[in-house]
Symmetry: D2
Subunit: 337 residues, 4 copies
């Protein structure tokens, strides 16, 4: 259960309420979001107790939740989460939002040329990695801060918002200056210190599902960010580890309608990692939209064969343009734009 406090409550009133709860033997964790003050009740709470709390002068309303993810649960909010990126793009709205770009920012020219081409395809947000999580320490680790600058410049010149990955708490402030959305990669879905720090940020977070994780674990990871006060979390299905050797990961689209039933948060899909094969990306993008997702994250490269990382799954600009056209048709068929 969540206790939503009245706005503009004095610290004095809060203390009184807390003492009142202690007397009722109700344990509650205070959570302050940008718009609300909440008390998240940890244990169970009988009907009578509930009645008493509801009547308390400092309480606005009670939200009943039987899920361990209280803030992420669909029952905690009456409306779906929506928020703006840049001037024209709204996440969580009827429009399917396309984030596209190369796996890594490789050079100033590469990302500038790419951004122009990406813009032409009709994609909305530019993605690109400056800090790369690489399996081996000898692999290209990204350009770092200079890469961020190249990325931001390229996006600005094309009037596109930016999404880029954050792996290290110490980079948050730097990245914040250059990005519009923080991306948390699959390997960091349960990096709790990172999630907690991102909970204190104002810019939205796209949280990729851990390749090992259940839906509940994904929602609980989002809860770490929400509980910190950052309400703008996008969940992203990106494939799980299974026994199937023919694809890099198994894209689990069951997650899309499941999550849409369980949470008010927007749900995106990354078919590039979720298949690991460029030849499957278009079909699985169409499928993701038909399943009900709110947006896509696509790896696209000017010359996919020369991508310095993830070359097998990046698609060309021609393919991306086709993909976006096809996705639009499917979007209409499922009453989206």
């Amino acid at each position: 259960m969540i206790i939503v406090l009245k706005n503009d409550l004095k610290e004095e009133n809060r203390k009184t309420l807390r003492r009142f709860l202690v007397d009722l033997r109700v344990e509650a964790v205070p959570v302050t979001t940008i718009t609300q003050s909440l008390l998240v009740v940890v244990g169970k709470c009988g009907e009578l107790t509930r009645e008493e709390i509801r009547k308390h002068s400092s309480v606005a309303r009670l939200i009943d939740v039987d899920r361990p993810y209280k803030l992420a649960s669909i029952s905690s909010l009456k409306t779906k989460t929506k928020f703006k990126l840049g001037e024209n793009i709204t996440i969580g709205n009827k429009k399917i939002v396309i984030m596209a770009g190369p796996c890594s920012v490789e050079s100033k020219e590469q990302i500038l040329n790419t951004a122009g081409e990406i813009k032409k395809t009709g994609a909305h947000i530019l993605r690109g990695g400056a800090y790369k999580p690489r399996t081996a320490p000898y692999d290209f680790q990204g350009l770092g801060k200079i890469g961020l600058r190249f990325l931001k410049d390229a996006a600005d010149k094309n009037n596109m918002p930016v999404i880029t990955e954050v792996m290290d708490i110490r980079d948050i402030d730097t990245i914040e200056r250059y990005t519009d959305v923080f991306q948390v990669g699959t390997r960091n879905m349960q990096n709790y210190p990172l999630l907690k720090e991102l909970g204190k940020q104002k810019k939205p977070v796209l949280l990729k599902r851990g390749m090992w994780s259940t839906y509940k674990e994904l929602l609980l990871a989002a809860e770490y960010i929400l509980v910190g006060g950052n309400e703008n979390v996008i969940l992203c299905e990106r494939g799980i580890r299974t026994h199937v050797p023919e694809t890099r990961f198994t894209l689990d689209l069951n997650a899309v309608p499941y999550l849409k039933h369980e949470t008010h948060l927007p749900v995106f899909v990354d078919p590039s990692h979720g298949t690991g094969r460029a030849s499957l990306v278009r079909a699985m993008s169409r499928a993701a939209v038909a399943a009900g997702c709110d947006g896509l994250l696509i790896e696209a490269h000017l010359d996919p064969r020369r991508s310095v990382s993830d070359a097998d799954q990046a698609i060309s600009m021609v393919e991306l343009a086709k993909l976006i056209k096809e996705v639009r048709l499917v979007a209409k068929a499922v009453d989206r734009i």
Copy 2:
């Protein structure tokens, strides 16, 4: 490599050709399909040897295949496999074919009433199990032969073809009299004696993917049927076993575009087993069609909560009708019907 023999070859000519191959040290397995006589070359075969074979008077043409699934491979046939069921339905054509019905035939009335309702929703083929593979020996094992008769009668009265599962070699002849398509369940995907016997049948086989299997293993299982001469095999993705506890299985839609690239066989999807949750079936049906499948296999029940088996995943007739409408819209968006 596959050697396609000329039609109407005499046994004498065949023998000469085989001796000729033995001299060339080429090992080849003779395979007779309904329309063609083939020799499937097992090992490798150099360019010169190939040239000699091509010139032989009994040889029509050579098919180059580098996959272990020679007949199932897309390179073995110039066109996609298509075949008729009943008078009006063609599998493998532009039209998305819907097979729907209850998990089990429960009684004469149940299946008759169901069939009428299924027909009204616009579904094309009636499914229903008379012999059920059940995890526990104490669970309902199906009505057997009498169930087949109920199923066939119900389908006939509604002018629908029938699909039903075969588990036991000894039932093939009986089932053949009542069904239009043999269904091989996930647990039997590598039941090789069963596959071999179905290879001798004339009626089509819908082969469900083993919940543990790779794409290659599915194609090789189909190969067992094709090699016996039965060319009408439908592949069916139905979910794999993964770590995800929230769904019964993980529907692996990556399989759809992958298989469509690899084989000329039609590819169906079973979102009922592939999710195990009625609430996810419609969304995943839309996704399957958007991914490029040729048809769907749906569990539908007059009163899902009272289904004697698989109650959690069966949808109602109202839901089925909605599903078919939605699927039609998505089909058009991807240039299907």
Copy 3:
């Protein structure tokens, strides 16, 4: 719950008891094993009803089981299942039993020479496949009946019992003449018609776990055999499909202590398939015994590199002899022989 009937009950008494149960609204399935007549109660049964049944003159005793696998459950039998193979070997006793031999019977000489060498290593039972489940129809399918004869002759000359795989119901009678234990392979763990037929046999069955299956599903598959009256079932862990690419399967040794707590049936381990790598077989054999298994199934070949099937996982006779020595030492450390 299981109702154990008194011995030598007349059909009349049975009928009276069944009517009595119908009046109590208790549904029960009659099961006749070689030594006992049982009624397996399918639904739940209150304390009072239970008391009434217990007092009935035809009832010997009640066995309380809360598991769906009633006969396989450890609560259904007071002692662990033990049985003799040949004159000297007892399965399920303190002694760790080693079954070893080639994947396939390749020729008369091969299996005869192999059997002699296997015997020298100290292994107890000769394994070898005459009917092989092969992923591709073009792979070597086994020598069939003649292979069985070679295998039996080789075993007889060395005074060893035989274990060999059965895949096809139609082969049961033939195989029965040549084998001492029927082996059911992983792909057939849920081939229910086959399990039911083996339930009618008198010779023991070694049932391999499906590479996709849970422990409960394995126990329920065993239940299919037990319920038919064949009480001598050996369970065999042989590896599951996981995401790990470095081994062919992941040997799940957790299954060993779990199953030993849950069932009275003997539990064997197949580290050859469970690793797919000859270099890991010795270590995992030691581990399996330390975990509490009752025996091992090992692929061994006179010249592993020339094995016609599964060459990567077969070990040499020298390795097998070492393995058995090491396993003996571990057996003693865990109070086995």
Copy 4:
């Protein structure tokens, strides 16, 4: 390939060598460990080039490695990695080392009493968590710094070294003061910033395998630490995510002999997380030692049912004492102590 430099080389000589390599078009990453200076060659390197490098006056020797994990590979070191903890314990030696303790430090008394009991069982190292990675933000997150102090005091009073988990880069310095070994949990196996920082530490690191990871990915994660100069890494198998619902994770003991063949690093096993069931921990500890591991990490609690976290898998002190006795017997059987 790795170039081992001569000791006490001047910076001048290093520069000359680097220029020499640039001329040969050989890309090499300099790595300085506590005992050696290395140049890790990233790309391929022909035989002639190799010969030239070998002759260079600054080069001590070349290590050929064909694995992406160059420093972790068994071919990079002639001897197994061994190091001391405290005065009497050596990791990587013949003796099986037991690390045991509660999941979380709960209070001063709890950890003090526990440490005394743990010591009596014969375990060598005290484990306990002060910073806990918890799936939900509302779960107990550990006592933090004060917990570290309680843990260290309890260990000191019993003359035991300490192991505790680090999740956050910012905690490294604090934890370093209280622990003898840094533990990296499964969720952080690919937290590269954390691994890089631990590579700069002098105290050893126990690196738990990601529950999704392959063996190669585990070795590459270790490589991140080794490449930073910290040579004392312990690998720890702790179970992977599979479809099996009866255990919390599937303990993958295949990893033990595989890793012992591939790397010189010590390999530990955590059967507590690897089963998630207290009743399986003793059997799987014996199995792990029989498979060849160098030590165990066990969750033990004074009153397992009252553990504030992971209660299902913690064993009692009586069980731990039994476990250690059993493990000693198995250790002797496999020529360990």
